[in-house]
Symmetry: C2
Subunit: 342 residues, 2 copies
């Protein structure tokens, strides 16, 4: 009862060979319609299920792909994974998820685990730009396991990636603040060893330069993606003279921390101070003082990553392909930086 039925069981029952059963099940055209039908019927009757493990061993393809993210319980990464899963599901791939918790060693370990598990591809948002993971990354490529970066990528020849234009996002956000009349725009930046944060910063700086606003290094403060860090950074900014009159934060969480700190100091938003975040986390929209932010289209990003993978898989025998997809960021102007409606 609990024993699984194999093609041999079917073969025995029908007095034919297992090979024929296999062929019939796979709709091999060389099988007579009658036996084909017969086999398929008895297969369902006997509650036959293909053992994908056997198939995997035989074919070398597990039907699983691995996704590595810093953590899965954030809106951004959760939504990307959702996008990946939705796109891969119809193609019969399963999604295995791994978390690095921003730990490089964990990242290496996860890649090894996935390699051991014989995944058919790896999609990864890397932890940081350290050299530590270079070796393992290259061993993935050497094994010909399709590798795709999303959001946080490494620049490696021949490796596809799906990202958003962080430079443009930073530029748009800053330009918007300038248009709102802000004169002294500060920036809460993330880990500069990550391309995404570097690019947001560069976009910020370029927007200032393009609009004849002096770039002031003291207005740029490193801050983790947390309320606490955002608040701390804001305290530092307010101590400057002149203090800034706007903040472009590379993180929504830091932006919220900043807003709370500004309010605590009796500063009116957006009248006296404007804030723009990055990420379009759900809460930015829900707040009474809704927070302007840059959307990263995580669902589309997930979909694209999966699509690039599927494309790559189909060509992997013939030639190498490299595809760098850059999505457009979308600025959502909300109350925290919107003086016109205020």
């Amino acid at each position: 009862m609990s024993e699984k039925t194999t093609i041999y069981d079917i073969a025995k029952k029908l007095n034919i060979s297992a090979a024929t059963v296999s062929r019939a099940l796979n709709n091999n055209p060389k099988i007579s319609e009658s036996t084909c039908k017969l086999v398929q019927e008895t297969a369902t009757k006997m509650n036959y299920k293909q053992n994908r493990l056997a198939l995997a061993l035989k074919s070398g393809k597990s039907g699983n792909i691995g996704v590595i993210v810093p953590r899965i319980n954030t809106n951004f990464f959760g939504t990307i994974i959702r996008g990946i899963e939705e796109e891969l599901h119809p193609n019969k791939y399963n999604v295995i998820i791994c978390q690095t918790h921003e730990d490089e060693n964990r990242e290496i370990e996860n890649i090894n685990t996935l390699l051991d598990a014989q995944v058919d591809g790896i999609m990864i948002s890397i932890t940081n730009e350290s050299k530590k993971n270079e070796k393992i990354i290259h061993s993935v490529l050497q094994k010909n396991v399709p590798l795709i970066f999303f959001d946080r990528k490494k620049n490696i020849d021949g490796v596809s990636s799906v990202t958003i234009d962080d430079f443009k996002g930073g530029y748009m956000a800053t330009k918007h603040l300038i248009d709102e009349g802000c004169k002294r725009i500060a920036h809460l930046c993330g880990d500069q060893s990550l391309e995404i944060y570097e690019n947001r910063f560069k976009g910020y700086r370029q927007a200032l330069l393009d609009n004849n606003i002096e770039f002031d290094e003291s207005y740029v403060i490193r801050s983790k993606s947390s309320l606490e860090d955002g608040a701390i950074a804001t305290t530092k900014l307010l101590a400057l003279s002149p203090a800034p009159d706007a903040i472009f934060s590379a993180s929504d969480f830091a932006a919220l921390g900043a807003i709370q700190e500004l309010k605590a100091n009796g500063i009116k938003i957006p009248q006296d101070f404007c804030v723009v975040g990055f990420g379009n986390e759900p809460f930015t929209k829900f707040m009474e003082l809704s927070i302007s932010t840059v959307d990263q289209s995580p669902l589309e990003m997930g979909n694209m990553v999966a699509k690039v993978f599927l494309e790559q898989i189909n060509h992997t025998e013939n030639f190498k392909m490299e595809k760098k997809i850059v999505l457009n960021p979308i600025l959502h102007v909300r109350k925290s930086s919107s003086r016109k409606e205020a």
Copy 2:
């Protein structure tokens, strides 16, 4: 170069049998230390990686477990999955995720997919209480694949589950509103075919009865877990006479929708109207008018689910075990229902 080395390659190189290599690699005590060491050294030298697919076929264990949730990009489910992954990772299990999107057919399909993939266990938060999935659930049990419910469970003998005490959560929330002096407490309830929502409702009702407050059916409104539905339900409630002076919502999202609608009607919170949600979504804490809510400890829930699975796996040969774990809900009193501080 890209060819994978097998134990046969090692065997050939060392002029010993593959079996010995296998044993040495697995630290079988019957192998002499010298050969054991030799094998392991040449293995690393030759960059040997165990093919887990072969092992899986041989042992019937894939090393993967499947997790099925309605969707993964919510704080609640995302955090549960995080908890599961964290607990399972050290035990060398991979986590395959599936989404149902609240579609029963998709749920059945997902279970079949996981079964086909020979997962070593399935953890599921079911879509609803319909009879539709009974058949497939039982076929999982018949195949002796460990099955564990979390949060949204079915009551089936011999099947373990990890949930929170929704009755208690509903009771606590309602009791709190009563203590704050609310007299006419309404309830936004979810899909009553799901045990969790039914229990939250029952807890609500019991708290009323225990405190000599008449239960008024017209104060109970079905509402999906969305801002829109929360707002619509609130409009209906405000049209009643007498209108309620508090809402216990079984969903944080509906609670937020309610709050927005109340504000739009010029009603002061918490002075004139108190609101308590359910779920402790991040935004409830971030709001200026922070929302009181019931925390479901999703991280612990995830951890527990994984632990129960591991426990079950270790006993599966000897005897069946059933473990029903019920976590305690935690009420977070915040501004939306806190008159004393207000």
